[in-house]
């Protein structure tokens, strides 16, 4: 078997991996650094290629962020969405490093949108990548190449080989030639994302339901490194069923549907399941805030499918979507097209319509349109569904990422299950995001965690290396 020797090996090719490799190389230019990316070049960048922004605190307006967003406010947002299930010390640690993350990105060629314009912009809390995550990933790959980092595409790490507390080599599959290669190095950084693309593993965790899940991101996050770490007694944290899951258009391809597959009208209409019954308050809160809970809601319905139904009154209140809505002129026709029971659907909608209390509809505030007298009330934006044509989007759970990962310290070094640290093993990004989040998600935090811990992993790996024999 062929053997390759490096000083630093980074496993993965997304944001965290690239930040780690670049930081390591900049810490010491003479080191031989390699990136192993499982995907072909055209698909490089993992889930990071699908991202839009990263969240950053700031005390004053910057060229890419408006107003101010303090550490406390940022932390409060994290606290709220995770219902307190966050590690405050680690969360604050990441948050306080986010301003440097933005600077690091800019310095290495990532471009951000100016803070003023746009329909989507949260502007204040999140800095938006100009051209999206793929452009970020491209910029980092260009920088990495310029710095002399060796990039191996279609090289998938299969296993890690340890001696005592140190990782000695990675067993890697060269997919183009279908042969195994040994990669030896002084330090290893694992930044290979979660295991959300591994359908079997999802099924182990979720049962048969998982067969109907759609993976929003890359197909290359197969979790092989997480398995290897598990096997080699790294400390695993988190629950395999926890992760970020949203409701997306059921017609989305199995992988890489990305952002465009979102359905934006849930809070404006009603959502029914296979049995033509409503199952949750669609008007509980604004859609971006509720976005993340609907994935799990749909996952727990029969056949993991649901239907979001609106009528023509609210057409202009939501973002256009990738797939055209299914449009019909009557509820019966809609039921036929969706293969729902006509009578039941009619009954559900009639009951709903009769319970709507007239109010002043305003989709930009939590308005006073609600229902009264239903088993499951709709608490805002409740309008009668009575003006054809009717619009329908079928929904399925879309997995964004998983939280189960490895425990790390604040230098990104990986813990063993006995509480001690591996000598030369680091982790960054999604694979250790569970140190900070255990459920729920605030938009843009994934890239923040990956950038902050990626940089730490790179720098500390080089520092630790000096002390090793």
């Amino acid at each position: 078997m062929q053997t390759k020797e490096f000083d630093v090996i980074v496993i993965g090719g997304g944001n965290a991996a690239l930040c780690a490799a670049i930081s390591a190389k900049e810490e010491n230019k003479n080191l031989k650094v390699a990136i192993l990316e499982s995907s072909p070049k055209e698909w490089r960048g993992g889930n990071s290629q699908h991202t839009r922004n990263l969240r950053s605190m700031h005390d004053a307006p910057t060229d890419v962020l408006t107003d101010a967003y303090s550490e406390d406010e940022f932390f409060d947002d994290v606290f709220k969405v995770t219902k307190g299930q966050t590690n405050e010390e680690y969360a604050r640690f990441v948050i306080s490093h986010t301003p440097q993350a933005v600077e690091f990105a800019k310095k290495h060629g990532v471009r951000f949108q100016p803070s003023m314009r746009g329909t989507l912009h949260l502007g204040r809390t999140n800095a938006f990548f100009l051209g999206g995550g793929k452009s970020l990933v491209n910029a980092y790959f260009t920088t990495a190449k310029k710095l002399g980092i060796e990039i191996f595409y279609e090289f998938e790490a299969l296993d890690l080989i340890f001696e005592a507390d140190a990782c000695k080599e990675a067993l890697v599959l060269d997919k183009k030639n279908n042969q195994e290669v040994k990669f030896r190095a002084k330090v290893f950084i694992i930044a290979s994302g979660g295991f959300e693309s591994n359908l079997e593993w999802l099924e182990e965790a979720w049962g048969e339901k998982a067969r109907n899940f759609i993976i929003r991101g890359t197909k290359f996050n197969q979790g092989k490194m997480l398995k290897a770490l598990q096997k080699n007694k790294a400390q695993i944290i988190g629950d395999p069923t926890q992760g970020h899951m949203v409701a997306i258009d059921a017609r989305t391809p199995k992988y890489d549907g990305g952002i465009a597959s979102r359905v934006d009208c849930v809070s404006l209409g009603i959502v029914v399941n296979k049995d033509a019954q409503r199952f949750y308050d669609e008007g509980e809160d604004f859609w971006p805030k509720r976005y993340a809970i609907w994935g799990r809601l749909v996952a727990n319905q029969e056949e993991q499918i649901a239907y979001s139904i609106t009528d023509s009154k609210v057409q202009s209140c939501y973002m256009p979507s990738l797939f055209p809505p299914i449009v019909t002129n009557s509820i019966e026709e809609l039921a036929q097209k969706m293969k729902l029971d006509e009578k039941k659907l009619k009954q559900t909608i009639d009951e709903y319509n009769q319970s709507v209390v007239a109010g002043q509809f305003n989709h930009t505030i939590q308005d006073n349109c609600f229902t009264k007298g239903l088993k499951i009330e709709k608490t805002h934006w409740a309008l009668k569904i009575d003006t054809p044509p009717f619009y329908c989007y079928p929904l399925r759970p879309g997995v964004t990422f998983t939280y189960m990962g490895v425990k790390v310290d604040k230098t990104a070094r990986v813990y063993k299950d006995d509480g001690s640290l591996f000598e030369n093993l680091f982790a960054a990004g999604e694979i250790m995001a569970g140190n900070i989040l255990t459920q729920g998600y605030v938009a843009g935090f994934g890239m923040s965690i990956g950038t902050v811990f990626g940089r730490l992993a790179g720098e500390n790996a080089v520092k630790v290396m000096k002390g090793l024999k």
Partner: protein, 355 residues
């Protein structure tokens, strides 16, 4: 039926972009798209001509091929642009002749004109380098005036048809000035903050913009030179040949050099360009246009250098044949891109202002 296919593909991409919006800050196309929920053919003709083919959004696109969504704005819009040139051209049937084979038609025209001149003026030459010894003044001016006026009419009708189709209206003076600036500076061919765009490949650079500037300004200089020549002749009664210190010659000389360098540069870039950014169908028309510009300017320079030689007559016929051919091609070639683009930018700036 191919036309609808091209439009369908591009529309599909626009729908995806519109729900993705990651490229929002790259150029004018994306904010313009966001104003729509559904796209009709006219919208597509507008958006396509607003696109500068800088290719940034291609490399940034998470849905670019090999992704099955197959979003490839630069190539898809290039195809639409060519369709739009054809669609609004006047008289329409002529554009189909040139579309069939622009290269052969152009070559044929040059040869025909040259043969015509040869038959009419064979044996004439000039020691002093005076063109009118070879081709009489009235002949030359009336020929070019007639062709020129016909071409101008064809161009104007085409542009008006296009402007109507994309619903350009309520233009203000300030929007017009803004558009003039954007067009003259090629704002959207410089990438974000003028850092250069990803053409001819992924590495960012401003070379295309520089070569285009040389081409466009070279062309404008030559146009000024010709107008000045006419002005000198008719009003100042100063007759050709001029020497390098006189404006007609100065503009013509500099313009010619700019054009030669610029078109050669664009040609080389085009040959080197990432094939994924280029629409195979429209690329032929691009080449013919670049080549015609090059040949016109190159034969012009030749004529200047060999003015006092025995080749003068032949060179004059050649240059004039090329110019005539170029004139006739104008309304049906990529030449119209500047007007369509200008009109599209004007609509964009007008709408932004009212926004």
């Amino acid at each position: 039926m191919k036309i609808t296919r091209i439009y369908e593909d591009a529309m599909k991409s626009c729908v995806i972009c519109n729900s993705c919006r990651y490229c929002e800050g790259l150029c004018a196309v994306f904010p313009a798209m966001e104003k729509k929920r559904v796209f009709n053919l006219q919208d597509m003709d507008y958006l396509a001509n607003l696109c500068h083919n800088c290719s940034e959004c291609f490399y940034d696109c998470q849905y670019a091929p090999p992704h099955e969504f197959n979003v490839s704005i630069p190539a898809q819009f290039a195809a639409l642009r060519q369709q739009s040139y054809k669609k609004y051209a006047f008289p329409n049937f002529l554009s189909f002749i040139f579309e069939k084979n622009a290269f052969i038609s152009a070559l044929l025209l040059v040869v025909l004109f040259f043969a015509g001149f040869y038959l009419a003026f064979a044996g004439k030459n000039s020691q002093s380098g005076d063109f009118f010894d070879i081709m009489p003044y009235t002949y030359m001016t009336s020929l070019f005036s007639i062709v020129g006026i016909l071409v101008l009419i064809a161009l104007i009708v085409g542009i008006v048809k296009y402007a109507k189709a994309i619903e350009l209206k309520n233009v203000s003076f300030s929007a017009f000035i803004q558009t003039l600036k954007d067009a003259l500076s090629l704002k959207y061919l410089g990438g974000h903050k003028n850092e250069g765009c990803t053409y001819p490949n992924e590495t960012r650079s401003n070379v295309r913009k520089i070569f285009h500037h040389l081409t466009a300004y070279g062309f404008i200089f030559c146009f000024i030179a010709t107008s000045l020549g006419a002005f000198y002749h008719h009003f100042l009664h100063i007759y050709a040949p001029y020497d390098l210190t006189q404006f007609p010659k100065l503009f013509g000389f500099i313009g010619g050099i700019f054009l030669c360098i610029g078109t050669l540069g664009l040609l080389i870039l085009k040959l080197k360009a990432d094939k994924k950014l280029i629409d195979k169908e429209s690329v032929g028309m691009d080449y013919v246009f670049i080549l015609m510009l090059f040949i016109v300017s190159f034969t012009g320079l030749l004529l200047m250098f060999f003015r006092e030689s025995e080749y003068l007559a032949a060179l004059l016929w050649l240059h004039l044949s090329c110019i005539l051919t170029f004139f006739i091609l104008l309304p049906y070639s990529k030449f119209v891109h500047m007007f369509y683009r200008f009109t599209a930018l004007l609509k964009y700036n007008t709408e932004e202002e009212q926004h």
